[in-house]
Symmetry: C2
Subunit: 393 residues, 2 copies
Amino acid sequence: MGKVRGGIERYASISRETSRPGVINLNPIQRGGILSGEAREILTSFGDGYSMCDFCMKGRIDLIKKPPVSDFLEDLASFLGMDIVRLANRCRDAIFVSLMGLKRSRGRSVLLVDGNAHYSTYLAAEAAGLEVVEIPNTGYPEFRVRLEAYGEAMDKVEDERGELPLAVLLTHADPHYGNLSDPRPVAEACRRRGVPFILNAAYTAGVMPVDGKKLGVDILVSSGHKSWASSGPVGILALREEVAEEVLLRSSRFPEKELYLLGCPVLGVALATLMASFPTVVERVEHWGEEVEKARWLVEQMERIEGVRQLGGRPKEHTLICFETPGFHGIASKHKRRGFFLYEELKNRGIVGIQPGLTRRIKLNTYGLSQEELEKVARAFQEIAGKYGLEVR
Amino acid sequence: MGKVRGGIERYASISRETSRPGVINLNPIQRGGILSGEAREILTSFGDGYSMCDFCMKGRIDLIKKPPVSDFLEDLASFLGMDIVRLANRCRDAIFVSLMGLKRSRGRSVLLVDGNAHYSTYLAAEAAGLEVVEIPNTGYPEFRVRLEAYGEAMDKVEDERGELPLAVLLTHADPHYGNLSDPRPVAEACRRRGVPFILNAAYTAGVMPVDGKKLGVDILVSSGHKSWASSGPVGILALREEVAEEVLLRSSRFPEKELYLLGCPVLGVALATLMASFPTVVERVEHWGEEVEKARWLVEQMERIEGVRQLGGRPKEHTLICFETPGFHGIASKHKRRGFFLYEELKNRGIVGIQPGLTRRIKLNTYGLSQEELEKVARAFQEIAGKYGLEVR
């Protein structure tokens, strides 16, 4: 083998400062993925990579009976109001697999998406050889997805290219502003035209109630490490029967294997923690209303600071929040630590998760924080504002 | 959301009987993935899905400096004698990504593989829209890959289709017989024809010394959960500079993102444990000779049992071993538990990992077992054989 430079011993003792008890993590991608107590307890016994595979008989994780993986996937499908669930590497892979399968079967070339879609949606489409047509959002300051525009946009694709889009994707709650979009009008426009409707529920399923059937969704994708208290990486691919055969196309040479999933996803701790957290998740989505209330409370507190304004739809319907913070940006421009001052001031107060260096706009997520923790967060921002001479009403 | 049937609380308390102290696990896919002590120690602090992303500045895990991910990937590349390393979901995804990138750049249509390739190699090729041409192995009982046949096989593809293969793949140690194939003659045949050479090192890199440069490899793929003592899932994609640009093609819309990787692999505990185990791995590959000696010792002991014969090349050069066991198969045909009797007899002796139900041929892996554990394994098989009237020499 090749030669490795010295000092590699340090990799054996990496540590994570944000895991210290009492630290509040506001990272917008992390709140819904923090492990449940039950999940954390099984980490050691299921830590080995193939820990779920001890009693695998058929080389397919979805068929494993011990631990009860196959039962679990059925329960997960019921919970999501869908017919069939498979696990994928990540949410984006679930989108990619869906697009590859649909394209193979239907041969169309356009994916219609909302203008707030995650970057990985564009990558999945490009990797699948599709062109993306985007419905722009309404722009500053609300950046709403124009749900009523989907029908017309599909017809326009058909007029211009002689065929409808291969599929339509809506980002249920988006990663930029945390706007929650109602899937029903989009589903209805898709249903009327026979176009499959994909809902990217990475930020919704697992933290709030989502019923794919009621919402008229054909393909629902989500992210275990983002919203299901799983170690991940693991994507959830939930399908209606009508599209399952297309998406879960079998390999020609190994007909028991699903082609675009590249066979079994080989999950150990990712699946073990997804399962262990499931009872917690089923219970916690019932409290979504309270979570939204807490988010709104924090918006109110933050907007007491000079210049701070919540972007995205008002009032908040999701716990991921984007603020413009021109006051902090002004401080950064004169501070010797530049944009890092805000991150560091927060960290000194036991708060992490605001992207280091950013001050013009900041994003955070209040999901699962207690009222006491939220008060600490509000106080910290207000204190920092005051310290640098911003007005706090 | 949908309705979930009762009894889901049981998912919160799944347990893993094979993780009990003292249990010997012979599972051929599991031996190289068992966590190091250091990896097991950091499970709790890095258990959350985005645990490596606390200080991510650019949305790319390979660029993270804290923990030192970017340094680690450089050291990993050096260790493998390669130029650049990226992490993928699994080893098979690393193959798929390579094929997609090469195909996009070179536009050819055939992947040439050895007849002992893992099923996922075929799936990756089919999903990438390639045809697989296979060099058959030598058949029973050795099933060797005919390394000298690669050059001729490439020329035959060229004669018949007017173009050389897009790439050539060799399975370094195969999953069926544990035959170790010397990549050098294949590399040389590829080099002369300008065809990229992919080495599937899922069962070799991480347990034995592998130097991609010395072996003439263009793309080396491996599996963290199979051979690097990582929780996984995580694939290692190690590239020579000459092919890196083709494989790591950027997205047209998000030029900082690598298209076929679908952006960042989003790894938490999989990467944390891969890093924590790295010093152990660097050290342990030096002891590969002793591991092979132990495998040979077990072969000798097993072949004392009536009818047992090691399949694959002799003597063993790898710790994954396939035996034909017609004696056990004969017992199974009359036993009330049928093929499960062997699994159960072993389990009663604290030994797991032989696929439940199989008795005609069995596979196991001795990697990392102590001499004492191996003696326990040999004794168990011999005892079971004796109990059911097979002769033990």
